[in-house]
Symmetry: C2
């Protein structure tokens, strides 16, 4: 599964709030002797646990020419060890009443299980086993490659919005690895070999490159005991590579791309700008950017929605998103779908005018307060979901933040001023670092 909330998937991000960015109570954390970091979030409301292992490796770490190998490897992790044959991992979890899944982003690869608290050791044993002991064969690998080729066809190539998004990211990041899709370029997926997969596994899958996050009906003491008995026995990797990604030249645009496809029923326009992220910013700039984008387009009370949908009736939807969680930087996006009979060009002009007015005058006090309250409230809602709790800490740590960054997030959001929000909006919403994408039906006139 490709994690759409990850680094470069900005525009397609399912959730408005970066998962790396919600204030929560302090969890317990410790490190095993082999370097594996452990985070425990006690949640005794029900006798279940969410168990996640986050590897500090994602698509952005792939060797050049082997795009897709990180996600490919996520699939292979279900293909069995000597102790747990292919398919048996998920069957064992299900037999014990649990669920499991995995996801890959530019920045991380994560495996999770939700299971009754008294079965926790079962999944820890199996997860620790497959960290090193996968018994994959060339035949298995070839078969799974076909599965991924088909997954790419369905998720990207048959989806005009995804095709456009992939092209926009390739333009926004001409050099940085975020320009390469997480699932990989088709011709490179087709060329992935057994040796590529083996090398990737041996290089990156190690306890000293992993974060164990357990949320649920468990104590830190019990987790420590179980972790030492399972993960604690896995030897660390000595020469873990640095996650040293190439950077892009600063100014590259303004760029545009048009994608026409007969499957498009509704034209739309979107724009991505390169941005800072929680991992790359100094001080509270990423917080201020989240607030600014919330004001500009985070809801139906935002500038873009009110102007384009309600007042001018040029659009049936309009908004903005901030993807501020990437280890290698972030992005922000604007999007709008024209109302019937409205040309995309006219909608774009109106959208640009809303942005220009916002950048000229900045937010009102009322807008600022509303946006901060809404973002801060999300931190409270997140505590209702054990899965969210575990994901927030896991993703944040895997993307270079500290537990303190997560815990103080809510306060930091509340500290953002009008000037902070306006300054980072002005810096970010710069067409010289943007790609505008237009999606049109095949039959539309040029």
């Amino acid at each position: 599964m490709i994690d759409r909330a990850g680094g470069a998937a900005a525009f397609a991000a399912a959730c408005l709030i970066a998962p790396a960015a919600i204030a929560l109570p302090q969890p317990d954390t410790f490190e095993l002797r082999n370097g594996m970091q452990v985070v425990v979030i006690e949640d005794h409301r029900a006798p279940v646990v969410t168990h996640m292992v986050w590897y500090r490796v994602g698509a952005a770490d792939e060797p050049r020419g082997q795009s897709g190998v990180a996600h490919y490897f996520e699939h292979l992790m279900f293909k069995g060890t000597r102790a747990v044959p292919s398919g048996e991992f998920s069957r064992t979890v299900a037999r014990n009443g649990g669920q499991d899944n995995a996801f890959t982003s530019q920045d991380y690869t994560a495996y999770f299980e939700r299971i009754a608290a008294d079965r926790l050791e079962v999944v820890m044993r199996m997860e620790a086993d497959r960290m090193r002991n996968l018994a994959i064969t060339p035949d298995l690998i070839l078969a799974e490659r076909d599965v991924i080729v088909e997954e790419r066809r369905q998720r990207i190539d048959n989806n005009p919005t995804a095709v456009l998004g992939e092209r926009m990211l390739a333009m926004l990041y001409p050099h940085h690895p975020y320009g390469t899709p997480v699932i990989g370029w088709l011709h490179e997926i087709e060329d992935l070999s057994f040796a590529d997969a083996q090398t990737f596994y041996r290089t990156w899958y190690a306890p000293n490159n992993a974060i164990l996050v357990i949320a649920g009906d468990v104590t830190p003491e019990r987790v420590r005991t179980l972790a030492e008995r399972t993960y604690g026995r896995v030897r660390p990797t000595r020469d873990l590579p640095a996650r040293d990604w190439v950077r892009d030249p600063p100014d590259i645009g303004p760029m545009r791309v048009v994608h026409r496809d007969e499957k498009v029923r509704q034209p739309s326009i979107s724009r991505l700008y390169r941005a800072i992220s929680y991992s790359t910013d100094a001080g509270r700039q990423a917080h201020a950017l989240d607030v600014a984008m919330e004001i500009l387009g985070g809801s139906e009370t935002s500038r873009l929605y009110r102007a384009l949908v309600e007042d001018q009736q040029l659009a049936v939807s309009a908004g903005a998103q901030a993807n501020t969680s990437g280890l290698g930087g972030g992005s922000v996006g604007l999007f709008a779908t024209p109302a019937a009979g409205i040309e995309v060009a006219a909608l774009e002009t109106a959208m640009d005018a809303v942005v220009a007015e916002f950048l000229r005058d900045g937010p009102t006090e009322e807008e600022l307060a509303r946006a901060k309250n809404k973002l801060a409230a999300a931190a409270i809602y997140a505590q209702d979901s054990q899965d969210s709790l575990a994901r927030i800490f896991g993703a944040s740590l895997a993307q270079g933040e500290s537990i303190a960054d997560v815990v103080t997030w809510q306060d930091d959001i509340m500290a953002v001023t009008k000037d902070d929000a306006l300054a980072i909006a002005r810096e970010t919403l710069n067409l010289d670092r943007s790609v505008t994408g237009v999606l049109l039906p095949a039959e539309a006139a040029p």
Copy 2:
């Protein structure tokens, strides 16, 4: 010096005809025991020789994150060996009445000297010496890096046309190394280290990765004697890396980029399409593409010039170029400069109409004959220049062609049919594989 006729430099190519593509008489060729290829083109009109060493390495072979190192290394090659101290190479050539220079493209790095025929051994000795024996120091390397940063500022960053060209190539090749500029991204040039340069030198500079081309008043026998005495003593490299470049996804557009700069006096529009090259095509497709682009925009009698400049008076210049010499593929380009008072958008619409008409109807017999004769004539003119002769064979061999490809080029051009030219033009001039670039003054309205 950056070689603008190389691989990706399509649009800026100084000469209309790909240097890799001109039919000439058969030269003598042989190989030294260490794998160095030697080509001798006898030319006894004057007692001078042109001596070139072509290395099969260019910017496209650079390690990721070290863009610019190939060109940087070209500079370092003048920094001295134990036998020939820094600066002494060029001084010795000059003292002997000669000239020397060097150039780097995506596909190759070449060093050349023109000197009196009886001094040939002097340059062969010095060139063979610096193939392995450079005595570069970290201090020297840092100083030269500043020279290159300044070169980049002058050639690219202060030149709006070059900035736009760099961005267009980055978009046209989102993954392939041709998307990275030969001179390198500024922030990567600034980070180049002594170790990067040393590794690049040791990896690629070797007799079995080099082609010696000597044109002039010399015999193959004498060249062999001198070559065995000089280059023949240089040990080959055992594990020369494969030149195995990543490829791009097939369809990526249509894309656009606008560059505004206060230094722009005259707006212009250009478009690049990805294309085949002599190295990647099958049969005579590259020949047919050269012919098609000559008809479309190669001269003042071309379709584009006549329609846009003469008939409609929308442009002060208009034309097309084919860059069909890249080892990793080629590109073709269209360009036009609007007449006073004409909007770029109107000019683009008219340009598109000329292309559409050409792709619908194809060339006339008269156009075909004129284009083929013009291209073939260039092969004849090239024989007047010793430098051109040497460059054509050197570049063609360094870019994966054979001597036979060069020798039969003129005949192959004459064999192109109307259908050949139309078929490859239709395949190539596809907006889904194109970038349109617009250059505007800073003050112009959007």
